[in-house]
């Protein structure tokens, strides 16, 4: 008898487990008017967000929402699209997620994020960066607010430039020839540190030479442009830098690129503006060889001036599956507040609000000016929800690794165009 009871109990228990599993797909109710105290999980990606901003968010949120708190979970840029796809669809979804601006469309279009249109005005309305609002919108609704924009700045080692007798370049061609000259003059040093997977830094060469990533046809399909004459000219310049000026791993990526730079293994490094802090101090906060010999300039364009660089940056949204949407929205308002965005600006990021643009302070006023120059000319990747798939598949990384290994640019570019078109139009 006892045994039977046990069996029945076991049955009951497993039935509950099973029910719990199969019922998991149902959305959690979101009708709470006054949000209950809860723990909010915020996913920030990489080390871009400065510590001051994180502390401000945690403290302000706790003050405004007694009993609730925010836990920041730092994610990696590598494999982010995969990770967001799995986690945003799970029942263990984070509440607020940051994503790359070029990746946002994959999630706004899929219903992974909560519609923020009702609080758009409170978040900043027309003061928000236009390109990023566009990147975070789908069907005229805002799903992911702009978070910040970053501009790529060229850092250089003033001492090594002097040794090699090279001056700050004024055109893109000069930037390339300088890189090669530096590598020739300095033994064991990269003229320009350019690992094969660093496609963000390769895009300006394409744009400056009149090329494009992809253009939209009149019938709505995409036409990839890597094999156009302008793009080929740009990629050839990239290849020259990667093969003749750079000693970086041909299949390496740009994470921690500041390590070879600050140890004087590379004379030039193009990196996001916040890399400044990792260059002038190492992990132990000690001065580096570059602390007193660091210079910077905006990547020069083909005909002088600042080049069109990749508009890196992030969008931030609330997960559709968030169990605490109201709390998440109130946290988002803090993140888009003038105070929080000013902290970002003071740390060299371009804030999400246009009115705060002048607050970009960076470490020195000169660097701030360089950031402003670069940001003014920034460009985006194609606005297609499928573009994130191109990134997630690593097509551009694979392509530039092959370019760095000395592959034939024209045939590689033609192959890449076919692959990109099959994804964008698939």
């Amino acid at each position: 008898m006892n045994k039977k009871l046990g069996a029945i109990a076991l049955f009951g228990a497993s039935a509950v487990v099973l029910a719990g599993c199969s019922g998991g797909g149902a959305p959690t109710p979101t009708d709470a008017n006054t949000p209950e105290p809860a723990e909010l999980r915020v996913w920030l990606v990489g080390t871009d967000t400065p510590k001051d901003a994180r502390d401000y968010l945690i403290k302000t949120f706790a003050d405004e929402n007694p009993g609730s708190k925010i836990v920041i979970e730092e994610q990696q840029w590598t494999g982010l699209v995969d990770k967001l796809t799995t986690s945003l669809s799970s029942n263990d979804s984070p509440d607020i997620v940051e994503m790359g601006n070029t990746q946002a469309a994959a999630f706004t279009s899929a219903g992974a994020l909560l519609d923020l249109t009702d609080i758009k005005e409170e978040l900043g309305g027309s003061d928000l960066l236009d390109g990023f609002v566009e990147a975070g919108s789908w069907d005229e609704k805002l799903y992911a607010a702009p978070y910040y924009s970053g501009a790529r700045v060229v850092f250089y080692n003033t001492a090594q430039y002097e040794d090699a007798g090279v001056k700050v370049p004024t055109t893109l061609d000069e930037y390339v020839s300088n890189g090669v000259a530096l590598a020739d003059a300095l033994d064991g040093v990269s003229g320009v540190y350019f690992p094969g997977k660093d496609w963000y830094n390769a895009l300006p060469f394409i744009w400056e030479n009149g090329g494009q990533v992809a253009v939209k046809n009149s019938d709505g399909t995409w036409d990839a442009q890597f094999s156009s004459a302008g793009s080929i000219a740009g990629i050839t310049q990239v290849q020259e830098l990667m093969t003749k000026a750079s000693l970086a791993a041909k299949d390496g990526d740009e994470t921690e690129a500041w390590v070879p730079f600050r140890t004087e293994k590379a004379a030039t490094l193009s990196a996001p503006s916040w890399a400044y802090w990792s260059i002038v101090a190492d992990e132990d906060k000690q001065d580096t060889a570059l602390t007193d010999s660091l210079g910077y300039f905006a990547l020069p364009g083909k005909d002088g001036g600042a080049a069109q660089v990749f508009a890196g940056g992030s969008n931030i949204g609330v997960a559709a599956k968030s169990a605490h949407p109201e709390l998440a929205k109130s946290a988002l308002k803090i993140i888009l507040s003038d105070e929080y965005q000013t902290i970002l600006a003071e740390n060299g990021l371009v804030p999400a609000k246009k009115s705060l643009g002048s607050k970009v302070a960076a470490a020195t006023p000169e660097l701030a000016a360089v950031i402003a120059d670069a940001a003014a000319n920034a460009k985006l990747t194609p606005a297609s929800p499928k573009w994130a798939d191109v990134e997630a598949k690593g097509l551009l990384q694979d392509f530039f690794v092959k370019v760095a290994n000395g592959g034939d640019v024209a045939s590689l570019a033609a192959e890449l165009d076919t692959q990109i078109e099959s994804i964008l139009n698939g």
Binding site: K3, G6, A7, L10, F11, S14, V17, L18, C21, S22, G25, P27, T78, G79, V81, D82, T85, T86, L88, S89, A106, F107, S109, A110, G111, A112, G196, L247, A249, K250, D251, G252, P260, A320, D389, A392, K393, G394, L395, Q397, D398, V401, K402, N405, I423
Partner: protein, 321 residues
Amino acid sequence: MSTMTTTLSPGTSAPVPAAGGPARRRRFDGTPLVLLLPSLIMLAVFIGWPLVQLVIMSFQKYGREQIFGAPADFIGIHNYVRVLGDSEFWLVLARSIGLCVVSVAATMVLGVGIALMMRSLGKVMRTVVSIGLLLAWAMPALTATIVWGWIFDTDYGLVNYFLTQVTGEDWMGHSWLSDPLSFFSVAAIIITWGAIPFVSFSTYAALTQVPDEVIEASSLDGANVWQRLRLIVFPYVRSILIVLLILQIIWDLRVFAQIYALQTIGGVRADTNTIGVYIYSVSMATGDLGSGGAIAVILVLILLAISAYYIRTMLKTEDEL
């Protein structure tokens, strides 16, 4: 290794119908069934249900919208037609089989070799070797791959450093991952390194079953080392070696962590995908879970075919006992 725990599933799930069969026939006594229930339910929840989902998904148009709740349309065998017609799939499959053959061969030869060596070692050295094997065994595949990645690092790697010291040529800056063949050599080393302990320990345990007197008798009859090994020892441990071989084939064919982690360190993704990573890339990165599901189902069928032999061998061994 972490692959162990997850990869046991095809082996353990398969015998279930066989075990459930006799239980059903003896319904008058429900005790065996009740005793089996917990594991059956676990299997149904953690393996059965996802498998059913996977099969259903492979017949649907299932993309990112569907993950987030949009209804999925059935599109028949469209996913299968597309996958089987895609030359990349066949390339990836061939690559996986190649890697699998090399890794399994190396694992079996080295693993059995170490087991034989352990038998002739003294107590102290045997303990040292066992601990070494256990440590390798305890290391998660991901961690191991990252460390191996450092060893083969382009700029700061040990291998490049030693080669420079030994050969006198400058190997610093040599990328071990950028050429696919070299990439897979590194991958095979990592996989083999991680798999050897299991084979060694199992074989060593099996070797203790070989009676000493038979070996002694054979050596008195004039059999040399090789003959003793081939004619006496191997027949005794044959069934275990076959099971080990098949398990290794299954595990190495669907290897994921090592390849995925190595790809983030270096190399060209498209040229180094194996079937496990390819499924993930198609499903998660490209967001096409329908096609990813179809590839996964095809892989399940291949693995089922291999494990069918494994189960038959296992059942046959049981009959012999």
